[in-house]
Symmetry: C2
Subunit: 407 residues, 2 copies
């Protein structure tokens, strides 16, 4: 196996460009990574964006984040004690770095290094029962004592109770919006306590109020930070079940706490058990099931590289750069100057755009249907996403972007 | 496969001898079957008993049931509307006939033919919660509508609620004692309603008050009558878990209803789920899981043979008589006149008696340890059981009988 790239911190200039790129229109986590891989850095990617979006069929010029917007976000971050951790940096939470849609930049308050410990997510209903809250409390305390950091989504009910019960052992919350608009507002005193031993993180622009669709996005980070996700109470259709689905897609363990068949708040968890989730009635159930994962080398102390150096969008285990081919070579291969290759890519992009519909499809199926290579498919999807015509969802699946939903 | 023996009814004389044999000291279901297999009938077995027990090392002569005792039991049965169904008869519940320890005679009130329909057992705590009772009611009603007869143990709580909810669709109760001493007494009005469409059965002497150890014995019949056993509520150590264990040993499906980890009445059921029981939160869960078993040919109408004919202790599928060797041949092979074979059997019996301890062991392991054939082991154990020195437990396992526990 090739040696892993040595993680290193971004320079201030590089961070500025990363933030500008990540805040530009239609740049999702996968496209961000593809851009950095192809252009070798965020600045070059920013320069290429307008042409890529045009090629993808954007109806109007792509909107890049302005220098002023980025300066303002950095300024607010400084004032709030928020710092940015890039997916290429040694502090980036190692488990999160493994998921397909890992945020390129995580805005953090508190001790992000808490996430180098084994981590479990506890999620559940906002309108939890007294029993559910008591069990979440017991579970979070027990997991903390067992050396786990507990992650959750800061929501009322199970989430907040889990955070409160694990303050001293490291509580990590994931915001659905930006740090300057903590949601729900009632969680603010809790957040202030959490950042002392734990952390609160967000991938969203610092001034962003969370919108409805930001909550499922947030949930993929909750599950992605953890070796396993425990659903304490969930009615059918509960957002906690989305977190469980993300955990499954991320190849993480899913636990469900059983409940009476007559309790609507247990319908979702009992359904998860029917689908094969691990039953959780005690801290030991979680500790036992996660023990094998815990021993992975993810949590060993990572050497820190110096500032600067070559940018890498991700620092995930198992995602080695393709050796022997430089990013520019690869770009050349896909985009010309060879005219026939460029023509072929245009044709592939058109076929893929026509194949995409409202239901997400897997990349492999899409490539097969479009009679395209994996590389051609990735390039085409990057351009389509930048043009606002394609959208990634969980589990490396992609769908047509529904018109009017841009933002 | 050899053709199945055609089931036939016992003559009145044969029934008398069966009842006398089954009520004699130390004659358990397995020994009963071994005796009938070896001696061809209950009368010959009764004659052989004293010598067999002596050979097994009985400290005093074995006590046979007296003719007067048997006459009295038959008289009480007539008065109470109880009739006896032998394991060789066509009315014997087909699923019960499959288990190792099937009672040779089942004393029945009501419509024993109800047990030719698919059957599910519902069991649970005596001190059930309101939710547990409501769920048992819903489950019993739904299973009845789905064409299932519901079996349970007549106990307070979940059992009685399950019976009451399935009266019209066929409710079958299993007594731990005899029909003349129905237990618990409060169940008497329920029993009277059950016998109209369903049945109440017992393997115990008709005048027997149930003792503590009779309840687990009863539980093997509850699970043995059913394709699957559903445990609705059970604390750790609950008798319902014994029923679940019997169901497993009998290769039947075990279902458990989940509950909150904070509810002690759900500890047993949640433990069963951890051990691989099927989760049950709805009637559909049971119906779906049992559908493949339901299609077996067990429930097709069985041809009834005429009265009399050769006695067979069991009518179980897959338990063909060993062909080509008559029972007498087999007895000859084991007991002489060949002296060296008899000497060998004495030696085997001594070795087995020495090997048995308080923890039950499997017959195969025992035969291996005693360096004996399966047939020698069966004969030796039959004699040891008759002598009150060995005792079978669930799953074809045997242990030393603890002194002073005879009765």
């Amino acid at each position: 196996m090739a040696a892993k790239p040595r993680p290193s911190r971004l320079s201030d200039d590089q961070l500025f460009d990363w933030l500008r790129l990540v805040r530009s229109e239609n740049v999702g986590p996968r496209t961000f990574r593809a851009l950095i891989d192809r252009y070798g850095g965020a600045r070059a990617a920013l320069e290429a964006l307008p042409e890529l979006a045009r090629r993808g069929g954007a109806p109007r010029p792509i909107r890049l984040a302005t220098v002023e917007e980025v300066e303002r976000e950095l300024g607010i971050a400084l004032r709030l004690g928020v710092r940015f951790v890039a997916s290429s940096e040694p502090d980036y939470p190692p488990l999160l770095g493994e998921i397909d849609s890992a945020p390129p930049l995580l805005a953090c308050r508190g001790r992000i290094e808490a996430l180098r410990q084994p981590t479990a997510a506890i999620v559940g209903s906002r309108n939890a029962s007294a029993a559910g809250l008591t069990f979440a409390d017991r579970l979070a305390r027990g997991l903390g004592r067992a050396g786990y950091v507990v992650v959750s989504g800061l929501a009322r009910g199970i989430d907040q109770r889990s955070h409160a019960a694990s303050i001293e052992t490291g509580a990590v919350g994931v915001l659905a919006g930006g740090h300057a608009k903590p949601y729900p507002n009632e969680a603010v005193p809790l957040i202030e306590r959490m950042v002392e031993f734990g952390a609160v993180v967000s991938e969203m622009p610092i001034g962003q109020e969370p919108r409805g669709r930001d909550f499922p996005r947030r949930n993929r980070i909750v599950s992605g930070l953890a070796l396993g996700t425990i659903v304490v109470e969930a009615a059918r259709g509960s957002g906690s079940l989305i977190t469980a689905r993300f955990a499954l897609e991320q190849n993480r363990q899913v636990f469900a706490v059983p409940g009476s068949p007559l309790d609507p708040r247990a319908e979702g968890t009992n359904d998860l058990l029917k689908q094969g989730a691990t039953i959780c009635t005690s801290v030991e159930d979680v500790v036992t099931a996660l023990a094998p994962m815990r021993s992975r080398d993810l949590f060993s102390a990572l050497e820190e590289g110096g500032a600067g150096g070559r940018e890498r969008a991700s620092f995930a285990i198992g995602r080695e750069p393709e050796s022997g081919v430089s990013p520019d070579d690869r770009f050349e291969q896909a985009h010309g100057p060879n005219d026939s290759a460029a023509d072929r890519l245009d044709a592939v992009r058109d076929r893929i755009a026509a194949l995409l519909g409202p239901s997400p499809v897997g990349l492999d199926d899409l490539a097969r249907a479009a009679d395209a290579s994996a590389r051609e498919t990735r390039v085409a999807l990057m351009e389509l996403e930048l043009a606002g015509r394609a959208e990634f969802s969980g589990g490396d699946r992609v769908a047509a972007r529904i018109a009017g939903e841009a933002g």
